[in-house]
């Protein structure tokens, strides 16, 4: 019985993997094909034309090292959007972690009145549809001069990110024993060294997970960037949507690959922190 259950579980995992991976395969083929239409199982002709149109690969004949450099140096829209998305993502991640660290510590370690209410208010951006608050926010942002610029976009990205980061990090601190810090202090470590040598190693795995959430939420943000950026701050999701509505599947597939690539890369490098065995959500508790 137990063995059968195990088998079923393994099949379920395979099934899940296939469901997730099959569309990705189709989508990869699409990005490198030329006019792949309905009755054909595989495309008649493979081509790099989508990539050429995105100005990521030079036209045939110019595909030398210099050709690539020259093309990329001309600052194509995709690379511009990619750099925007990356820099906004990193910046917002760092800022959110710095803000969340003290908040999570208090929420995780202390009990106080209205704690549940505060948590509820903090989580509310994940319940509310973004359109509900971003329209109101936009009016304020315009009057403060944050609309249509990079800074405003970063600021508005923090709204959906903070709940994830604070909640993830609260989980770390719920199992964290602050006596380790006290112990280090009595052994002669000052506050800075205590944080660097004792606190940081304990919360680092959880912080990685929180950072991952933060980056991915920022990375996939469409509506908020669109409304607050007012079309002046171009990020990858904006480019993906506009390309998709133009109706060229190969082009959309190519740009989507660029869109999902960093996410896959990050997941790959941080998967060990996300797995159940890591100390990500345990702090010192499981050690």
């Amino acid at each position: 019985m137990n063995n059968n259950l195990k088998k079923i579980n393994i099949y379920a995992i395979y099934l899940g993997a296939i469901i997730l991976i099959l569309p990705l395969i189709a989508f990869f083929i699409n990005a490198f094909s030329f006019r792949w239409f309905y009755p054909q199982v595989i495309p008649k002709e493979l081509s790099l034309q989508a990539w050429v149109r995105l100005k990521l690969i030079p036209k045939s004949g110019q595909r030398t090292f210099e050709g690539f450099i020259e093309l990329w140096a001309s600052n194509p829209a995709v690379i511009k959007a990619l750099l925007n998305s990356l820099s906004i993502g990193f910046l917002v991640t760092i800022v959110s972690i710095i803000i969340a660290l003290p908040a999570a510590r208090v929420l995780g370690l202390l009990n106080f009145r209205f704690k549940k209410l505060i948590i509820f208010i903090m989580v509310s951006p994940t319940i509310l549809p973004p359109i509900a608050f971003v329209l109101g926010l936009n009016i304020n942002f315009i009057s403060w001069g944050f609309s249509g610029n990079y800074f405003g976009v970063c600021l508005v990205h923090l709204v959906p990110i903070m709940p994830y980061v604070v909640l993830t990090m609260t989980g770390i601190f719920a199992n964290y024993n602050p006596d380790f810090e006290h112990q280090a202090r009595t052994l002669g470590a000052n506050k800075t060294r205590t944080f660097l040598l004792i606190t940081l190693p304990a919360i680092a795995p959880g912080m990685v997970v929180a950072a991952l959430f933060a980056f991915l939420v920022s990375w996939s943000q469409y509506l908020l960037t669109f409304l607050i950026g007012a079309g002046k701050v171009m990020t990858l999701p904006l480019l993906v949507f506009s390309t998709a509505s133009s109706g060229n599947p190969a082009l959309t597939a190519a740009i989507s690959i660029i869109f999902i690539f960093p996410a896959i890369l990050i997941l790959f490098f941080t998967s060990k922190f996300v797995s159940g065995e890591s100390g990500a959500t345990s702090g010192f508790g499981k050690i």
């Binding site: 112990q183 280090a184 202090r185």
Partner: protein, 351 residues
């Protein structure tokens, strides 16, 4: 030299309706091994944390060698605490844990290695330097924590319930180790415990604390023979308490007049209580005692190995007596008996 003085120390927490530490005064001499004894939640660990600087007192002062500690940050006080659950840093191996305090002082790496080796030999764990804390047993972790605390020659060593997480046989071993090391290094040591037996076996002096208030601060022997009040006497297993009134160098009680020789007679109030250890009471079937002898009735006889315990009713008052089982007279329940309270063994205290 490191003489510690605690003056009028008060600390309250918002969650408690009484102060956690209420006006505590203590003088701890250099090199003494002192126990803070009391039931859990009595404030003893709070005092330790104030000595380390992890808590700030509401008022009062903590003075080490004529210098107030209150303004000095924790890491510069030279006061090291060993926590109840050892708290070895999980990401460091034993060598790194033990050497931590010296590394913080910026001591040369070679000297640290040398000192770490010495300390691990002192706690009798010479070969475990490269292991991680989770590979150690509870007793080993405790000893590593002790080595880590002692490596920087602290002025004061604080131990929070050092034996409570250990098995019975490890406890004896650890207790001996603490005493040996403390005598060797002569470091002023305070340890917290709720176990009066542990305090008696280890400490030079015991500070008994109830509900944040210091009851008494004296040698273990005095707690048995000359307790300061009835609470202290009860905590150390006192059972015989008789209400007494001062009466011209004697004490009059409802079992009769008791002849008293205690040196504290002049300090006693009019109404007081006398107590005597069960093992100091003598029994006889014939009245062959000169003074402080009272006629009573044996209520029960309980044989408990080396000793036999008797409960005796004297004038409606129940007294408990414990005699060595060897060479006992034949005393049975309902026998009439004479109870002798030796005048140099009874102790009177204010109510």
């Amino acid at each position: 030299m490191s003489k510690l003085t605690i003056k009028n120390l008060i600390k309250s927490f918002p969650s408690m309706d009484r102060p956690a530490v209420n006006n505590v005064n203590l003088d701890i001499e250099s090199g003494e091994l002192v126990a803070f004894l009391g039931p859990s939640g009595c404030g003893k660990t709070t005092i330790l944390k104030m000595i380390t600087g992890l808590f700030q007192p509401d008022s009062g002062d903590i003075i080490l060698d004529e210098q107030s500690l209150l303004k000095i940050p924790t890491e510069k006080r030279g006061v090291v605490m060993v926590f109840q659950n050892y708290l070895l840093f999980p990401y460091m191996n034993v060598n790194e844990n033990v050497g931590f305090a010296l590394k913080m002082k910026g001591v040369d790496k070679n000297i640290i290695d040398q000192k770490v080796k010495e300390m691990l030999e002192l706690v009798k764990l010479p070969d475990i330097g490269l292991r991680k804390p989770k590979q150690l047993s509870g007793g080993q972790q405790q000893r590593v924590a002790l080595a880590r605390a002692l490596i920087s020659n602290p002025r004061i060593l604080l131990l929070d319930e050092p034996l409570s997480n250990l098995d019975a046989h490890l406890r004896d071993e650890m207790r001996d180790l603490i005493v040996t090391i403390q005598q060797k290094l002569k470091v002023t040591t305070i340890f917290v415990t709720h176990d009066q037996e542990e305090a008696v076996l280890l400490a030079d002096k015991i500070a008994l604390i109830f509900d944040g208030e210091l009851q008494n601060f004296t040698s273990p022997k005095n707690y048995y023979e000359k307790p300061k009040n009835i609470k202290a006497a009860k905590f150390f297993g006192g059972v015989n308490f008789i209400n007494a009134k001062k009466d011209n160098h004697n004490l009059s009680t409802n079992i009769g007049t008791v002849h008293y020789k205690g040196e504290n007679y002049t300090d006693l109030n009019e109404d007081n209580i006398i107590t005597i250890r069960p093992e100091n009471i003598k029994l006889s079937k014939n009245n062959d005692f000169n003074d402080n002898s009272f006629k009573g009735l044996i209520k029960s006889v309980i044989f408990s190995g080396t000793h036999t315990r008797y409960k005796i009713i004297v004038n409606d008052l129940e007294l408990e007596c414990s005699l060595q089982s060897v060479g006992l007279q034949d005393i049975k329940t309902d026998d009439t008996i004479y109870v002798h309270l030796p005048s140099n063994k009874i102790w009177a205290m204010n109510e």
